[in-house]
């Protein structure tokens, strides 16, 4: 049966973005073979600098799946990174600086969650506010200075969290000796979070909350508490990203998180997570992040400027969102087709997407 085969094919998680990523990377291999046909772009470049983006996008997948948004994570990166850099460099606290940075992320995320779930501020507004606040706090604490972490390569913090895997001889520059430790951490966290979203009670609750807060309450989901956990988790992931960034750059600067706001959100939505919540794919997000990431070297190698990269990212983002909108919402798709006078069914039967309106009183 045609539909059975089609639905089995369509059931591969993140399929559209996987296809598009493969096509675009294939295209880059043709336009910039010197870059994209060599392993280094994927191993030493991507695996050492893309993990923060992928982690942030994975966290945002949960947030968007719940029908919420977090705009404060770039500032969490700023503040947690600042906490880490100052405690590490000025106070020589080593691993305690790591714990402090993680704790800062958890605390900020928790506050976001309380503002959204208990105080009832829409997350868009709440996290916009806390984003300003913590960005200011980070600048205040760091005095607006950047902190270079010279000699950090020799510490256990660096070697365990970032740096290269101890395989092969790094001096020979074979590709597998260039695989970064943070890529391994990132992969472990992402795989774990895939199971949380798809196999854990928390993930199921997040999907139902994104579907409808009212339905979730009625079936016994503690909506407020799950949302607090959600924003707390996002805070923690942002803190991990901050530590990775600061260590990888061997430098802290206040704006290090700002570039991630649009790219991380774009990665999630390009990946196929629904902008309306209730439906999410971490596989899609990872491919979305890889695509967003590789567009820069890909376009630059083809002679494009930074502005062009931005324009192209914006375009891909919009095209993807529109594509999923019409894929996911049969009623919308039919309305569009109808506008162009394309008949999809015989007879004047009304589309199945339009159900008789149910009384919604008393919900």
């Amino acid at each position: 049966m045609k539909t059975a085969a089609r639905s089995r094919f369509a059931r591969i998680e993140g399929l559209p973005i996987i296809v598009v990523s493969v096509l675009i990377i294939g295209l880059f291999m043709i336009t910039a073979p010197s870059v994209f046909l060599r392993p280094e772009i994927y191993t030493s470049t991507m695996l050492s600098t893309a993990p923060p983006l992928i982690l942030l996008a994975t966290g945002l997948t949960f947030v968007i799946a719940a029908g919420e948004i977090d705009l404060s994570f770039p500032s969490i990166i700023g503040f947690s990174g600042c906490a880490f850099a100052i405690l590490f460099k000025l106070h020589g606290l080593g691993w305690i600086a790591i714990l402090a940075a993680l704790a800062a992320g958890v605390l900020i995320g928790f506050i976001n969650g309380v503002l959204v779930a208990k105080v009832g501020i829409p997350s868009f507004i709440a996290t916009l506010g806390t984003g300003f606040f913590w960005n200011g706090m980070a600048t205040f604490w760091s005095g607006g200075k950047s902190y270079a972490l010279r000699g950090v390569e020799d510490t256990s913090v660096y070697q365990i969290l970032v740096g290269n895997l101890p395989i092969g001889d790094p001096a020979t520059y074979v590709w597998y000796s260039q695989i970064s430790v943070q890529a391994v951490w990132m992969a472990a966290i992402v795989v774990f979070l895939w199971f949380v979203l798809n196999r854990h009670r928390f993930g199921e609750h997040i999907l139902f909350i994104g579907d409808s807060n009212d339905v979730s309450r009625v079936v016994g989901v503690d909506v407020d508490w799950e949302k607090i956990k959600l924003f707390t988790m996002m805070g923690l992931l942002a803190a991990i990203a901050a530590i990775m960034l600061t260590l990888e750059n061997r430098n802290y600067f206040g704006n290090q998180g700002q570039g991630y706001l649009l790219t991380a959100i774009a990665a999630v939505l390009i990946g196929g997570t629904s902008i309306f919540g209730g439906k999410a794919t971490i596989v899609g997000t990872v491919f979305g992040a890889v695509l967003i990431y590789l567009m820069e070297p890909g376009l630059v190698a083809a002679g494009a400027t930074a502005e062009t990269v931005q324009i192209m990212r914006g375009l891909v983002f919009l095209i993807a969102v529109i594509f999923y909108l019409f894929m996911d919402e049969p009623a919308r798709r039919r309305a569009l087709l109808a506008r162009f006078m394309i008949r999809t069914s015989s007879g004047p039967a009304k589309p199945a997407g339009e159900r008789p309106a149910q009384p919604t009183r008393g919900s």
């Binding site: 199921e204 409808s212 339905v215 016994g220 209730g278 149910q358 008393g362």
Partner: protein, 260 residues
């Protein structure tokens, strides 16, 4: 569930409300409600749109906290501050809501178990087992055979009747002592209405209780042991259907309306 069943001999009323009031801001949705449901009684709840029927049952199921008043389950008073939907489930109270009680974009198997998933001690769901049970409910309890609906189908693809079937199948599976039905026949075809009424009868036969909200008087009259009439948040009459025909009942209700 089993613990609740074991105690079943020792109580008279599965649920009793005493002086329950509910305000939504300035809206006085429930006024001094006193009512009880026997442990093997089908109580029909009738009244106009906005009378407060849904609000009343949502206080029983832990969705809304009453502004004041007391609620007893199996003759024991419950702590309303700690009451919740989860607690109501634990007390073996199950609801089929009039408006959506299913996650639209979620597969059926998740909808059957959400809120009380089969999990290991780390909270990870036993997907295989949940799907097996869901499939069994689908085939044997609800009787969806050969209609192209599987446990992986999402709710948004189902018709209104099929949705009601899913909710009812869920209630039946969890074997509750009190099953609350909020307009389960709304937007259903004749055949599906029959199924729902049969289900209400089965609740009675199996020794359990039900509160059944319904606008169609013929339907409640057919299955209820007792009817409670709600008007603007107040109980205004209690009727035994055996003492009146449907026509008399209709007239009686119209008269009540005029008097007030």
């Amino acid at each position: 569930m089993t613990a609740a069943m074991a105690e079943s001999a020792s109580f008279a009323n599965i649920v009793r409300l005493a002086g329950v009031q509910k305000y939504f801001g300035a809206v006085h949705a429930l006024r001094n409600i006193n009512m009880a449901v026997g442990r093997n009684e089908i109580v029909g709840l009738i009244g106009d749109n906005g009378a407060g029927k849904s609000t009343l049952i949502k206080t029983i199921t832990g969705v809304h906290k009453p502004t004041s008043g007391r609620i007893f389950v199996r003759d024991k008073e419950i702590d309303l501050d700690a009451y919740s939907v989860g607690k109501a489930h634990d007390l073996s109270i199950e609801t089929v809501y009039q408006d959506k009680s299913l996650g639209e974009k979620q597969p059926l198997w998740r909808n059957f178990f959400v809120g009380r998933q089969i999990v290991n001690r780390f909270g990870f769901i036993d997907v295989k087992k949940e799907k097996e049970i869901a499939n069994d409910i689908l085939l044997n309890t609800i009787g969806f055979r050969g209609v192209g609906i599987s446990v992986d189908s999402t709710v948004q693809l189902l018709s209104g009747g099929e949705r009601q079937g899913i909710s009812i199948g869920r209630a039946m599976h969890f074997n509750s002592d009190l099953i609350i039905l909020d307009e389960p026949t709304a937007a259903l075809g004749v055949k599906e209405v029959r199924k729902v009424l049969d289900f209400v009868r089965r609740i009675k036969e199996s020794g359990r209780a039900s509160i059944y909200i319904e606008h169609n008087l013929a339907h409640v009259h057919e299955v209820a042991d007792r009817l409670i009439v709600l008007d603007r948040g107040e109980i205004v009459a209690e009727i035994r259907p055996s003492e009146m025909t449907v026509a008399e009942l209709t007239k009686y209700l119209i008269n009540i309306q005029h008097e007030r």
